[in-house]
Amino acid sequence: MNFEFLFANIGDLTVTGLSQGAIYALIALGYTLVYGLLKLINFAHSEVFMMGTFGALFAWQLVGLHENNPIPSVPMMIVYLLVGLVGAAVWSGVTALAVEFVAYRPLRRRNAPRLVFLITAIGASLAISEAVGIATGRQQFGMPDLFKTTTLVTIGDAHITNLDLGVIVAAIVMMVVLDQFINRTRLGRGIRAVAQDSDTAALMGINKNRVIVLTFVLGGVMAGAAALLYNLKIGVTRADIGFLLGIKAFTAAVLGGIGNLRGALLGGLALGLVENYGSALFGTSWRDVVAFAVLVIILMFRPTGLLGESLGKARA
């Protein structure tokens, strides 16, 4: 175990861990929202994220921004960021909706047992990822550079880059907006009502299917935002990136307490940190082993995750 390396780089590891964790957290929201509402682990959500990375890429190509273009001016960069966000959110949202309409809704109408939903979710995930794999020839696609990554501040030995800071801030802003939406607005109240007691929610005049659609859209938009941040940070995408990211984000959701929005944030950030510290300590190839070992240990002591309660009972 290389403690020397860990302590020598603890600052940088923390910054990287947080920015990676922020992306996990944004994806984790989709798992947690759908679970809170339908008690369903939507394994197809990993592909909702993957589609978002392509959505941003297509949107950029559409406005003439390609991989090897020179770095744009600051106003153009903001425009491109927004274009990428819209592209990613739309593709992710549409994918999430397609999964709901094609896969889950017909099952709900037939009152299918829970196991059938789970198998369908895995099937939908494989189908989407393979379809995109075939359509893209399983190639890797590079992203255009929107800005030059520079170190903004150095705290101790931690170099905080504009990229990492942007990723963390953007993710947190998105989550605060979502949290406020769920806890403060009429539609958010409807989502919470269906999550807590769907029969009584119907007696309030709430259309359950409409709430479910809204929830899939919200999860999709958050995954789209995560996809944009991933593109900026990693710089490439492929049809099969969803799997590992999806599993990690699902882990983050469980770690924080599935069904709990703030748990997703906490779980994501914690997972990002643990992974980075773990790979410094044991070597990079142990990264995923450490992440899942920590999950198992935490669940042994807190079976409902760090924050525990479900979306149903969560309160501002």
Binding site: R186, R189, G190, R192, A193, Q196, D197, D199, T200, A201, A202, L203, M204, G205, I206, N207, K208, G312, K313, A314, R315
Partner: protein, 236 residues
């Protein structure tokens, strides 16, 4: 006729819970549905509010067939239910619960008026606006569920066992408030095991036994009926 059931059959799988019941409620009435545990009272309520599909038969609201209408649409049409076991959203405050009651409405001024009306009927709710529903006493939750149902400004209010689990004093109070609500013009269908209270309050009543209506009449008639007295009023 404001609400009418015609030969309504409801089944759970192969077991028929209601064997073709017919009843009617006129505008402005309080109608009680009494019967023992398992007689089908709650099933009747759930069929009217749309949580249970009718197997056969028809449900009419103001002469319009609503048998196949979804539960959430029926709320917009004027049917509002305070469910059995109260159905309070435990993680939401009193205000949030009340706001869910008018989820389908957009008329802010009228909503504010109705909220004032609910707070006048149940001053306790006004004091507890910020309290979580799940932390309130049984009586307070009952007040909240009735108040929340009123927030939909219903044509007909369905009350499922409002006296359940409450102390006698509180039952008196709740029944007085039901009378007041009816006096303000809301039609009420009341399902009760507490037959004495229900029959004293109701204009008319039906007796439900194992999924069939076996008797009907005005509240006074049924209170005086020897068979009803023996079975439901504990008079030997």
């Amino acid at each position: 006729m404001l609400l009418e059931l015609q030969d309504l059959v409801v089944s759970y799988g192969r077991i028929e819970a209601l064997h073709g019941i017919s009843l009617g409620i006129e505008q402005g009435e309080i109608v009680a549905l009494i019967g023992a545990n398992g007689a089908g009272k709650t099933t009747t309520m759930r069929a009217i509010s749309g949580l249970r599909a009718a197997h056969r038969g028809k449900i009419f609201l103001e002469g319009r067939d609503i048998t196949r209408m979804r539960a959430d649409r029926r709320v917009v049409q004027g049917i509002s239910q305070a469910p059995e076991g109260r159905g309070i959203f435990p993680g939401m405050t009193v205000m949030e619960n009340l706001d869910l009651g008018c989820y389908t409405r957009r008329d802010a001024a009228m909503i504010a008026e109705d909220r004032e009306r609910v707070f006048t009927l149940f001053p306790r709710l006004a004091e507890r606006r910020k309290q979580l529903g799940g932390t309130m006493s049984g009586g307070e939750q009952q007040m909240l569920t009735i108040g929340r149902a009123l927030m939909a400004r219903p044509k007909i209010l369905l009350l499922d066992e409002p006296s359940m689990g409450l102390a006698p004093m509180l039952i008196q109070q709740i029944f007085a408030i039901i009378k007041e609500i009816n006096g303000q013009g809301t039609t009420v269908l009341l399902v009760e095991q507490n037959a004495q209270q229900a029959l004293s309050l109701a204009h008319r009543a039906y007796v439900l036994e194992t999924g069939s209506i076996v008797r009907s009449g005005t509240g006074e008639e049924l209170l005086a009926d020897p068979a009803v007295q023996e079975a439901y009023l504990g008079v030997a």
